[in-house]
Amino acid sequence: MESYQQFLKPEVLAKLKQIDLKARLVVEGFLAGLHRSPYKGFSQEFAEYRSYLPGDEIKRIDWKLYAKTDRFYIKEYEEETNLKAYLLIDASGSMRYASGKISKLDYASYLAAGLSYLLIKQRDSVGLVTFTTTLDRYIPPRSNPAHLKVLLHAIDALKAGGDTNLANTFHKLAEKIKRRGLVIILSDLFDNKENVLSALKHFRHRKHEVLVFHILDKNELDFTFSQPLILKDLETSKEITLDPRVIRKQYQKTINEYFADFKIRCREHMIDYNPITSDTPLDRALFEYLQKRSKYA
């Protein structure tokens, strides 16, 4: 089990080439760490038997089969759900930033792949939206296993570049998605806070559940540069000369205040806001999703 769990580390995943393998390993590693099965049937359509696992409810044991085989089996049912999940991946230039080996976009890709795998495995419908200043790609949600390949292929082909206009994109998307669903946003949210919140509220207004993974590089939080330098904006190519030692405290204060305020404002509007750095093991993000999923259920 521990060998699976190592694939929750982004730097280990980065060494793998195939996105579907990455997705599977993330989910398997995640599941192996859970004490209880995350899967719950919501329909009565039988699917298969499986061995009893500690944590499964005793009432779900098939006693007849026990009488025949003298072993504990649990009946699995095909889930029937009307959950439509939308993965929104920010592919703007700023997502290209990496202080280590893993860029924010890499991390978002692994997370999106893992979530897709998990969602499809749960028979949920998953759609994918990638965007920069505008919507770049829109894959409508589907639940069949073959759709997973489409999603993973699209995720694998992601390349960061260009400016970002989150609010505008989110507003457009909120209008586009007709049926209520779960909107999972993977972005660094580098845009005007008020505009972004307004757009998120728009999702809420359309009765969507919103789960925000605010992905940041660790250096964006700590600002650990030690020498005076010139910083070049990956989106706008603007340059600024500064001594990081001098502004570090002020910068950290600003960014912490920003997150704190963003968190409070999200909570006010029932939006799940999860700040996460690109070196965080992926199970934390997946766990957040499952919690949200269970609420949704």
């Binding site: 700023s94 997502m95 290209r96 930033y97 924010k104 660094d188 580098f190 845009d191 590089d217 964006e220 540069f225 020498q227 005076p228 330098l229 010139i230 910083l231 070049k232 904006d233 990956l234 989106e235 706008t236 603007k238 340059e239 600024i240 000369t241 500064l242 001594d243 001098v246 502004i247 002020q250 910068y251 600003t254 960014i255 920003y258």
Partner: protein
């Protein structure tokens, strides 16, 4: 604004180093791609602007700190221009650069004053400049820049001259002045010996001429100075119990008890190595003169070089003294006479002693190199010219001894005028026919020459002819005739002995007496004294008479070169006058010591009140005060350093 060390201004270029470092740092800055400047620009804009301002301020403060620190090294000063002349002027500046001006910062102040006097001049004015040592003479010029530059590089001389010759030169220069306003500024420390000789003259010219004369006082009221006055060897008649020893005469010129270390070294010139050295602490009461004995003997024939020095004080020039002595194995004596008969008995008498006798006709005196003789005997010379007397005078002042025999034919004007013997030459020749005579009757046995004759009868000798002197000082008489007139005289304790009779058998039988020989030996031994001093003062001309026309090697304290002698009156003469600094000067085989004039060490001043009594205008500052910017510059450097540190902490 002026600078006391303008050459150090070049260092100011180093003040650009912080700027260069700043620029290099900017060029070398690492460029890093960053996700977004979103949060950086969201950072308090005021803080960000302040940081940029802070960076610029730090650079400015750092540059100014280095700038003012280096600026202070050039010792800047401000001169506030308050014009002493309202219109164009012809201004002569006389700067006292005698070595007494080296006391503390007197000379620096004097130079500042001179610069100020030039800077104050209105456009169209002219300025001339003179130093008391005679080292610089600038006639009226309008090129003030060059003049200021020259003044800036001036150093105090070793001269001890009074201001008189310089003032006279200045008056010559003033005759070329073209502007209506003509002023003379004398910048001095008011030293008595420098200024006193010109007081009456300055007063007179101030009253009678159109020149406006001002004395600028840059000296100090109170001063402490100890200097070496003289080095000599004593006694002149060394005996087994009384060997000749060097003495150093030290004088305290101040009204305070002073303590100094006296260092002494003795070289034997043949070996050019130090054969004796010592150091001794001396304590001098106010104005005390002390002759310090050096515990070594000077007895072997040869040349000796002495150097005495004191631990340094505020006036270092008179703290060193050089001295040379020469001890001959046999003393060289030159007898000058009109004919050989007049000197034959004296020559024979001396030949029995440690003397080598040379004789010459009085008319050929100019051909003789007097310095090679320890004593010159002038035996009734009637044909000596004024030039001959000048040469004898120079010989005596250089330490030579003279024995003069005067009889009835002598012409005396040269003796009194040139040798300045200070005795009246009035008198008359007395001739007594035998059997009448005079004898030696009264003897001054306190005199070192006569002391050995205390128990010996000198009165047996008979004298038939002698020179009867009218007026004389009894203190200078060694022995009298029975007529009451002097027989032997030593005027003013100089190394000159005069005998008022001729040593000729036709005039005396003294030459046959047993006392004649020892008396002559005694006189010539005294006159030749074991040491032959060749001591010169700064700016003196050293004269050497070489045997041939070959160039002589001259070695001064700082340089060495060859010089060819000239021919004067049929003799080779080498004159060396570049004796600008104290030390030993080697010319051919001879060595000469050159010293500062010791009296210049006496810093006694003429009071400003005394100058005013002579109607001489005296000031201590010209125009407004000069502001020394050095301290302010250092304070500014410290201020900018503090500001930089404060800025770094904030």
């Amino acid at each position: 604004m002026g600078f006391l060390a303008p050459s150090l201004l070049l260092l100011l270029s180093l003040a650009t180093i912080p700027v260069i470092i700043h620029l290099i740092q900017r060029i070398r800055l690492r460029k890093i791609s960053y996700s977004s400047l979103f949060f950086i620009t969201q950072t308090n804009r005021e803080t960000f602007s302040w940081l940029q301002v802070k960076e610029i301020l730090l650079l400015i403060f750092r540059t100014l700190f280095v700038f003012f620190l280096l600026f202070s090294l050039a010792r800047p000063y401000f001169v506030k221009k308050i014009y002493t002349s309202k219109s164009e002027a012809s201004r002569l500046i006389i700067l006292d650069d005698s070595y007494s001006m080296a006391y503390q910062n007197n000379f620096t102040r004097a130079k500042q004053t001179a610069l100020k006097l030039i800077q104050e001049l209105k456009k169209g004015s002219e300025a001339a400049f003179l130093t008391s040592s005679g080292s610089v003479k600038v006639n009226f010029t309008t090129d003030f820049f060059s003049l200021e530059k020259m003044i800036d590089t001036l150093r105090v001389s070793f001269s001890g001259r009074s201001l008189e010759p310089c003032f006279n030169k200045g008056l010559d220069i003033m005759s070329d002045a073209v502007q209506a306003q003509k002023d003379i500024y004398i910048i001095t420390d008011l030293q008595k010996r420098a200024l006193e000789p010109i007081l009456e003259r300055v007063n007179f010219i101030s009253q009678e001429s159109e020149y406006d004369i001002t004395v600028v006082d840059v000296g100090k009221e109170n001063h402490i100075n100890v200097g070496i006055e003289e080095v000599f060897v004593s006694p002149n008649f060394p005996g087994p119990d009384f060997p000749s020893r060097p003495y150093v005469k030290v004088k305290n010129y101040s009204n305070q008890t002073s303590r100094r270390m006296l260092f002494f070294s003795l070289k034997f010139s043949e070996k050019e190595s130090i054969i004796y050295s010592s150091q001794k602490e001396i304590v001098l009461n106010p104005y005390e003169v002390k002759a310090v004995i050096i515990e070594t003997e000077i007895s072997q024939p040869g040349k000796y070089l002495f150097e005495a020095s004191l631990s340094r004080d505020s006036l270092p020039a008179d703290d060193r003294y050089f001295y040379t002595v020469k001890i001959d194995e046999k003393k060289q004596v030159l007898l000058i006479r009109d004919n050989a008969q007049e000197s034959q008995y004296l020559a024979r008498a001396l030949q029995t002693g440690d003397f080598v006798i040379a004789q010459a006709d009085a008319r050929a005196l100019y051909q003789q190199n007097l310095r090679q003789y320890a004593v010159i005997g002038l035996i009734n010379p009637t044909r000596l010219s004024v030039l001959d007397f000048e040469r004898i005078g120079h010989y005596v002042s250089g330490g030579g001894g003279v024995f003069a025999v005067l009889s009835e034919e002598i012409q005396t004007s040269g003796w009194t005028d040139i040798l300045n013997l200070k005795f009246s030459a009035q008198g008359k020749p007395v001739v007594i026919s035998p059997p009448g005579f005079v004898s030696i009757q009264e003897v001054n046995y306190d005199n070192p020459i006569m002391v050995i004759f205390k128990d010996i009868n000198l009165s047996a000798a008979r004298f038939y002819a002698y020179w009867a002197l009218d007026n004389f000082s009894s203190s200078s008489v060694l022995a009298y005739f029975s007529s009451g007139k002097p027989f032997l005289m030593q005027p003013d304790n100089q190394k000159i002995i005069i005998a008022f009779t001729a040593f000729d058998v036709s005039k005396t039988d003294f030459v046959f007496k047993a006392t004649f020989l020892p008396l002559m030996h005694r006189i010539f031994t005294y006159l030749s004294s074991p040491v032959m001093q060749t001591d010169y003062l700064i700016n003196d001309t050293i004269r050497v008479q070489p045997a041939s026309a070959l160039a002589l090697r001259i070695r001064t304290p700082h340089t060495e070169f060859l010089q060819t002698p000239n021919i004067e009156n049929g003799q080779f003469i080498l004159k060396f006058s570049d004796t600008y600094e104290p030390g030993l000067y080697y010319i051919g085989d001879n060595v000469f010591s050159v010293n500062v004039h010791p009296a210049e060490g006496d810093l006694s001043r003429i009071t400003q009140g005394a100058l005013k009594q002579h109607n001489i205008k005296v000031v201590t500052e010209v125009g407004s005060k000069t502001t020394d910017f050095t301290r302010i510059s250092i304070l500014l450097a410290i201020l900018f350093l503090v500001l930089e540190l404060v800025l770094l902490i904030v």
